[in-house]
């Protein structure tokens, strides 16, 4: 549907980014097939991290083997919360401004990978928490915030799946991506309010500066491995998005030729 252009309608009524101002979509180029070196490097780095963490890093005296989860849990949390989600938000915001389809595909890819990494965080957290804290779950501010962000990302991806029109899907999800940025400080504040009312036993996490050098090296390797894996997965997912669109275009073309 196009908005009918009404004679005498002041231009102030035009929607932002009216069709005339929108750049023509860049023609889709088929991504290069074959071996994905970046993704392979990411997977190899992850394997290397696990090997180093389990066999070549000293076991923590108090927590025992359970502490090994630390090297997966913390890097995936940091990459998801401080790399993937900001990427979704920035790509969404810039999309509303520039209307470049590549930004939409980037936001989609980053959101999917963020969901995977956050799921890793939420699964490994309780496994580590049970032996060390004595409970699977505690309504700690950071846990609660991560859980709600996980729900927001799930909602974002379900919304994408529920809208058929390409441009509409991109706009809706970009709006949600931008609003989610505004939501984070509010959830943080309300979680904090909740927490001050019900004081929790204070559980100290092993903090990075006090780590012995071997553990610190493994943790830093973990950050590197997860960043590499993130980059590889996002690039692969963007390529997959391009190929899926090319396939849809081809099918539309076939339908048009037959019809």
């Amino acid at each position: 549907m196009t908005t009918p252009s009404l004679a005498g309608t002041p231009p102030a009524y035009a929607a932002p980014g009216a069709p005339a101002a929108r750049p023509a979509p860049a023609p889709l180029a088929a991504p290069a097939g074959g071996f994905d070196g970046l993704l392979a490097a990411g997977v190899l780095a992850l394997v290397g991290l696990v090997v180093r963490a389990v066999w070549f890093t000293p076991t923590e005296a108090m927590q025992g083997l359970a502490q090994k989860i630390f090297y997966l849990h913390v890097p995936s949390a940091v990459v998801a919360l401080y790399l993937a989600l900001p990427l979704v938000a920035i790509a969404s915001g810039v999309y509303l401004w520039l209307r470049d389809d590549r930004l939409d595909r980037l936001a989609e890819a980053a959101a999917e990978v963020a969901l995977v990494f956050m799921t890793v965080v939420l699964v490994t957290g309780p496994i580590w928490g049970k032996p060390v804290w004595g409970t699977w779950w505690t309504w700690d501010a950071r846990l609660t915030l991560t859980l709600f962000l996980w729900f927001v990302v799930v909602g974002y991806l379900v919304l994408r799946g529920a809208v058929d029109d390409r441009a509409q899907r991109a706009r809706y999800s970009a709006v949600l991506g931008v609003l989610a940025v505004l939501l984070v400080p509010f959830i943080h504040l309300s979680v904090y309010l909740f927490r001050t009312l019900h004081p929790m036993p204070v559980v100290l996490k092993p903090s990075a500066p006090s780590l012995p050098p071997e553990m610190r090296t493994t943790l830093l390797l973990g950050f590197g491995a997860f960043t590499l894996l993130f980059a590889g997965l996002v690039r692969a997912r963007v390529r997959y998005g391009v190929e899926r669109e090319l396939l849809a275009l081809r099918e539309d073309g076939l339908d048009a030729a037959e019809g």
Binding site: A15, F148, V154, L159, L183, F186, I187, S190, L193
Partner: protein, 234 residues
């Protein structure tokens, strides 16, 4: 189309016209309102009945129940907000009208505010009755103040998401899925404020929660009004 010599109404006047249209439809049919009120009353009763009355004090339960029901019954009305525009493609006429999109959004939100407040006017006395709330002077106005602050934010976010989800598959399911995480900063401070008011604490102790609610209202009313036109253009 605007006739020569007739100027389009201003933003607030337009918003009022849109809100009056929606409220008139709702007043004549009363379908969503009765459904939402019945749902709210049922929920009030079921929540109380699902706890052991000797183990859980009704006063401890009341604040959480009140605001959880507030959000869920609000969602029923919010879904209808743009649902009514689907019939006969009325939304096309609304968009073809030479008025700003922001005014349409504010009108829709205003109508939803009326709806949510009306449902709350039934829910609060029902909770007071079934949960045996203390009949203290000043409690009702204070609760009403919390309700209005909570409703503005709920309606701002909910109206935008209603516009976004109404055209999608899974519309009725998608709206709560998207909206509920955004309602966390409404339900939590509102319930905490209510708990303190019921316990007879001074108003000063409630101030941080009211500030949080107020800033949520301000941020999301502005953000959602600005975001709404992006969800419409084709």
């Amino acid at each position: 189309m605007t006739a020569p010599g007739v100027t389009a109404p201003g933003v607030l006047a337009t918003a009022w016209l849109v809100a009056r249209k929606d409220l008139t439809i709702e007043f004549r049919t009363r379908s969503a309102f009765l459904a939402a009120v019945t749902f709210a009353l049922l929920a009030v009763v079921i929540f109380r009945f699902s706890w052991d009355p000797t183990a859980v004090n009704a006063l401890d339960l009341a604040p959480g129940v009140l605001w959880t029901i507030f959000v869920f019954s609000g969602l029923l009305g919010l879904h209808r907000s743009f649902g009514v525009e689907q019939a006969d493609r009325a939304v096309d006429a609304l968009l073809a009208a030479p008025v700003s999109r922001e005014a349409v959004f504010l009108g829709k939100a205003l109508a939803n505010l009326g709806f949510v407040t009306a449902v709350q006017c039934v829910t609060v006395p029902a909770v007071a009755l079934f949960y045996d709330l203390p009949a203290r002077g000043g409690l009702l106005p204070a609760l009403l103040g919390v309700a209005v602050l909570a409703a503005v934010g709920l309606v701002a976010v909910g109206t935008l998401f209603s516009a976004m989800t109404v055209n999608t598959r899974l519309a009725e399911l998608l709206l709560p899925m998207l909206a509920l995480p955004f309602f966390v900063p409404i339900v939590t401070p509102a319930a905490l404020a209510t708990a303190r008011l019921l316990a007879g604490r001074p108003l000063a102790e409630v101030a941080p929660m009211l500030r949080l609610l107020g800033s949520f209202d301000l941020v999301f009313l502005v953000a959602c009004t600005l975001a709404f036109p992006f969800t419409l253009e084709e």
